[in-house]
């Protein structure tokens, strides 16, 4: 039964200065939260496992069934084969991004966080910064390792390519960056909607659903619009051979990042105004 022993008014002359909340301190706090949340660790590991596992597996499959006809050979993209897992990893990373903040809303932890950081916004920025610093550290090595392993498999049938070929290194790096941006979009939607199911549904609606909807429009409209949709725009950076209808690799990725920034900005604007 220990009692508190220090009277409140015997603190240092300016008690507030010592415990002032700064963005850097909140980033540290969010790093502690990320590394101590098992579901986050599992999502990240799942994403890495999908990138590596599915990429290597798909390469092993393709090497047993190499392209035969000249058309098949011409359209065969060894980089895309090795990065197939990154497509699947979008799901895990997107859900992780959502959970980073909706997990706090679901449990009521968000109130504790917002009482500690009464200006609120540093919490959202802290989560974004921690994710942007963590995810590429895992995803960049994962995509490059997968690429190298896959190409060594594909080269048994002379199907492989190398990082020196034009656009290949950019596509491999781009896949890791795109995944990171998907996670951030998930975070933004999670902060906006404050509900796991709603945010996950709208994330996949934005990533996959919009294209389906636009596909129903007349071809003249859909061809013009499709390139500006999140997935075609963001995926441009992951393709070695750009689709002539799509935006340039970095322009497309830039547009995807802009969508993410708008979502996060809107979430931040509401976070300051809404009741927690």
């Amino acid at each position: 039964m220990t009692a508190l022993t220090q009277p409140a008014d015997q603190a240092s002359p300016s008690p507030a200065t010592g415990q002032r909340v700064t963005q850097a301190k909140v980033v540290r706090s969010e790093w502690t939260k990320l590394r101590s949340q098992p579901s986050a660790a599992w999502s990240l590991l799942t994403a890495v496992a999908l990138i590596v596992g599915f990429g290597v597996l798909y390469s092993l499959v393709r090497v047993t069934r190499p392209p035969h006809s000249p058309a098949e050979v011409a359209s065969f993209d060894p980089t895309a084969v090795s990065l197939a897992g990154a497509q699947l990893a979008q799901v895990a990373v997107g859900v992780l991004g959502v959970l980073l903040i909706t997990g706090e809303y679901a449990t009521g932890m968000i109130r504790t966080s917002m009482v500690a950081v009464s200006r609120r916004l540093p919490v959202l920025w802290g989560k974004a910064v921690v994710f942007v610093l963590t995810a590429p550290v895992l995803f960049v090595p994962a995509t490059f390792v997968t690429f190298l392993v896959s190409q060594s498999i594909l080269s048994r049938e002379q199907l492989g390519t190398s990082l020196q070929e034009p656009g290949v290194a950019r596509a491999v790096l781009g896949s890791a960056l795109y995944l990171t941006a998907v996670g951030l979009l998930g975070l933004g939607l999670g902060a906006l909607l404050r509900n796991t199911a709603g945010a996950v549904a709208s994330l996949f609606g934005l990533l996959f659903g919009l294209q389906i909807v636009v596909g129903f429009l007349p071809a003249t409209v859909s061809d013009t619009v499709a390139r500006y949709l999140p997935t075609p725009a963001g995926a441009a950076v992951t393709n070695v051979r750009p689709d002539p209808a799509s935006l340039g690799p970095w322009a497309g990725f830039g547009l995807f990042c802009l969508y993410t920034a708008i979502t996060l900005g809107l979430a931040a604007w509401l976070l300051r105004r809404r009741d927690v």
Partner: protein, 332 residues
């Protein structure tokens, strides 16, 4: 670092000596109103929570206690009015953990995270050292389990974790929403002595509860609300004396005749079995004289002291009826 060693004993700081020397750590609520849709959760509430004593915050379920606390902590924005803590709105404090320690709902922690990392993450927002985390863990008695996942905690352990979170910043003001929920007897006694210590150290302590008898043993001052409105803002003893209806138990040889003689518009008499009556609105002296004048033999005559619970029930039975006496708190 502001957190000092737990073993160091310092005499309790003097309480603020008078109105001239206004303490800067207190909670001030002015005309606070919060509307959710068409429901008025808090209705023009004004009160002040002073340092150096435990102030209990009472009200029936749904009276607006938690909403008021959220408004004070800047989590919800008031529809009208204002709430300040230690001189300014909560959200304007640069070092909020140093100003206010809060427990809102117990177990508002991610179930997969260990209690230690939960505390550490909150501490880090204010740059509070790990040693302080260890200190509060020790203080609330969670040392053995602090590395366990918080999701496996019992409600009582969750409350202790919430209290530890509230104490991290060595705050000048403490706001606890139902800290006694889920605690066993030992835990309740511990919280009671903790609150008394915090108040004795000159802090502002504001605690909500629906456990009336616990509150009676813990708080020196009461703020009572009902349907979002202030019902009473007074000392504990004063509240009980005013709102509690003293009851006299009288057992006699002729309860029927006695009851008829005692009854009046101000007095209620009800049978209590085996020749006994409970009488409210009269003192033992008055009951004894009536019986003596009628020649009725008394077997027992006892004054039953009003409890806080009785007082609370009376006060909140009709919130409107009781708003008038509450002006003791509103005349500031």
């Amino acid at each position: 670092m502001l957190c000092r060693l737990p073993g160091r004993s310092v005499p309790a700081s003097p309480l603020p000596s008078g109105p001239a020397e206004k303490a800067d750590n207190m909670i001030e609520v002015q005309g606070l109103t919060k509307r959710y849709g068409d429901k008025l959760a808090v209705d023009d509430l004004s009160f002040t929570v002073q340092p150096g004593r435990v102030t209990g915050f009472l009200g029936p379920n749904g009276a607006g206690k938690s909403t008021t606390m959220r408004l004070i902590l800047g989590l919800d924005a008031p529809t009208r009015g204002s709430a300040t803590v230690n001189g300014r709105p909560y959200r304007e404090h640069a070092a909020p953990l140093r100003e206010v320690g809060a427990l809102l709902e117990a177990r508002s922690v991610l179930p997969g995270r260990s209690a230690y990392h939960h505390l550490l993450a909150i501490a880090q927002t204010g740059g509070i050292a790990r040693s302080r985390v260890d200190e509060v863990v020790e203080q609330v008695g969670l040392r053995e389990v602090v590395r366990r996942r918080a999701g496996r905690f019992s409600l009582g352990m969750g409350q202790r974790l919430g209290i530890a979170t509230a104490l991290l910043g060595d705050p000048r003001t403490v706001i606890l929403d139902e800290p006694l929920n889920g605690l066993d007897t030992e835990g309740i006694r511990w919280v009671r002595s903790l609150l008394a210590d915090l108040a004795a150290e000159g802090r502002t302590v504001f605690v909500s509860s629906h456990l009336m008898n616990e509150m009676a043993m813990t708080a020196q001052h009461l703020i009572v609300i009902g349907r979002g409105r202030l019902i009473a803002d007074s000392g504990m003893d004063e509240f009980v004396a005013r709102a509690g209806r003293a009851v006299v138990l009288v057992r006699s040889t002729d309860p029927g005749s006695l009851a008829a003689r005692l009854r009046s518009p101000e007095v209620t008499v009800s049978p209590a079995g085996e020749g006994a009556l409970t009488v409210s609105g009269l003192s033992t002296d008055q009951v004894g004289r009536v019986a003596g004048a009628a020649g009725i033999t008394l077997l027992e005559l006892t004054a039953q002291e009003a409890s806080l619970e009785d007082a609370f029930m009376t006060a909140t039975r009709d919130a409107v009826e009781f708003r008038a006496p509450a002006t003791t708190g509103a005349d500031r």
